[in-house]
Symmetry: C2
Subunit: 341 residues, 2 copies
């Protein structure tokens, strides 16, 4: 292994000077800098990040904590992760994916070891025990998602209000007047306290009221199967519905296939519009779903950047809310009789 000592020797300088050019932390004349850089490349030097971490008490590693149990790691989560990893790399950090339980014991374990400088928390619950743990241990962190109590927490999240406004506006513009929302399963404590369900439902009720629409909200679990059942329930209880919004992306797939199976043509008979879905997931459906695209890449990047700002002692940016964006495809169309009530 080539160490800084070797480089220093070959360049005829002290090891400290090498460190200074490496980190750009003290001025060095162009000449010596050149000598050192040449020595480094000749020797194929790579700084040992472990030693650096020990000496500087900064590992430059940040963990993305993902609750492996409660949420499936699908395409959407992958988008968050890869964009976050890219953002981290651009700033000379490593980002690693860390599967943790939702209770926080593994999280305690993780941060106690001094391996990571900070944590990006995904799939945050409205009242998330992990936030408390991170605060107690003094670990820097940023949230993707929001707890109820936000005082001073670095976070980024989906702008549910704008998302729902755009979704409803789009459907209304097509002529739909009989909408329904398929939200989360309120009997499941995990999802009852899960921001996306709670916030998009609230936004939907508000926006629907503004448009003077009747508000139909059904519950559904977060699986394709549950979505199919919700579709059946919708047809049974609200057959007049011409367009349906679905919060969960897997449920949305089920709603689509459930409606089709029951003999309803999407989009001719009824439009389906997921409020949060990745393009990859949408591409798997037939017809391809019109979606509100989850701003995964944006949020992954912003969350990571917020954390890094915090780590570097920069002034924190205000929390950012990013709306999902409409990507029209094949699951939405005007209702059979436009303006029908």
């Amino acid at each position: 292994m080539v160490t800084m000592r070797d480089v220093a020797q070959r360049a005829g300088v002290s090891i400290a000077t090498v460190s200074f050019v490496l980190n750009d932390t003290k001025p060095v004349t162009a000449a010596t800098r050149r000598r050192i850089e040449q020595a480094m490349s000749e020797l194929g030097f790579r700084r040992n990040v472990v030693a650096r971490a020990l000496a500087s008490r900064r590992t430059h590693i940040i963990a993305m904590a993902y609750p492996a149990l409660d949420h499936k790691f699908g395409f959407t989560a992958a988008e968050f992760f890869t964009s976050a990893a890219d953002a981290a790399r651009k700033q000379d950090y490593h980002l690693v994916l860390w599967p943790v339980g939702n209770d926080g014991t593994e999280l305690t374990e993780l941060v106690g070891q001094g391996l990571v400088d900070g944590v990006v928390l995904m799939e945050v619950q409205l009242d998330d025990p992990r936030v408390g743990i991170l605060q107690e241990t003094g670990t820097p962190f940023a949230l993707i998602g929001r707890t109820t109590e936000l005082a001073g927490l670095d976070h980024v999240d989906i702008d549910f209000d704008t998302t729902v406004e755009e979704a409803v506006g789009y459907l209304h513009g097509l002529g739909h007047r009989r909408l329904a929302l398929i939200s989360g399963n309120l009997k499941d404590p995990v999802f009852r306290t899960y921001g996306p369900y709670v916030r998009s439902e609230a936004a939907y009720r508000r926006v629907a009221a503004e448009y003077g629409l009747e508000t139909v909200v059904l519950e559904s679990g977060g699986s394709t199967r549950a979505g199919q059942e919700a579709a059946a329930q919708l047809i049974r209880e609200h057959p007049e519905t011409t367009a349906v919004l679905v919060v969960n992306e897997f449920a949305a797939l089920g709603v689509l296939s459930g409606l089709t199976r029951l003999g309803h043509n999407v989009p001719a008979d009824i439009s389906v519009l997921p409020l949060l879905m990745s393009p990859e997931t949408a591409a798997m459906s037939d017809p391809e779903l019109t979606i509100m695209r989850t701003p995964g890449p944006e949020l992954g990047q912003l969350g990571t950047e917020a954390l890094i700002r915090q780590l570097e002692g920069a002034t924190p940016l205000p929390p950012q809310l990013i709306p999902a964006t409409l990507h029209p495809a094949g699951s939405t169309a005007p209702p059979r009789s436009p303006g029908d009530r």
Copy 2:
């Protein structure tokens, strides 16, 4: 931060002794061990893994290198990862997911820094440049998948022969005599050298011959869209087919929806059986696909264990090949006229 020094002081021993009980690396009397353990728990000591790594030249971190660009990180990959992470944790290692390009520059970067003890390589190409890099740098590694040249490489992989035998046997047992395989896109260099396509196609040709069946093989990209196109081609060119095997899981979803869209009922008119799919992906389809389940959890675990054995200097296990297992569901059924030729 509580250090070993603090623990040693409180227990009235030297810091070395603390290290010995921590790592169980030298005998310590029950009495002192108890004192030390008590001191540790009273102080809430957690060993600093960075310092340990520096001193022992072992970070106890292993990276799972995933080629983020060429392959989508879906449910199947997630299965590999989580099971590998679990296996690692059980043996006192951390496993992190590391997105790398397929060329290997980022991999060089990663292993040069001394951050990881070893690498688990996923989605191995038949002739993978990354393998060479790891060998040159002397990094321990294990493969999930296989290169063509296997001499002495630790690896685990899918047992394509058994998988295809079981799949074809199952369909044959249902009465199917007109099968087709939808494999990878041979025009795409990435997939032409991708083991699962090459090996399952070879196995299919062999097994089909054994059964005395005509061998129909179509190409397809690895997307839902491509699968739909392959389905159309199949109907056009081989309308007599009663059952179709699909290698790629996303293509399989497309084959299913493509057939349905063209007015063919699955499974009544034609059976669809993906050779490699995760249950989560299967659950998203309608009808739910009968699948050969990718042995992701098994392979993730075995690959990690193989690497750890190598790291610990244990005698390597022979390479293991695990077949995918049949999970019957709704996409397979006897052909319309059993035994039809």
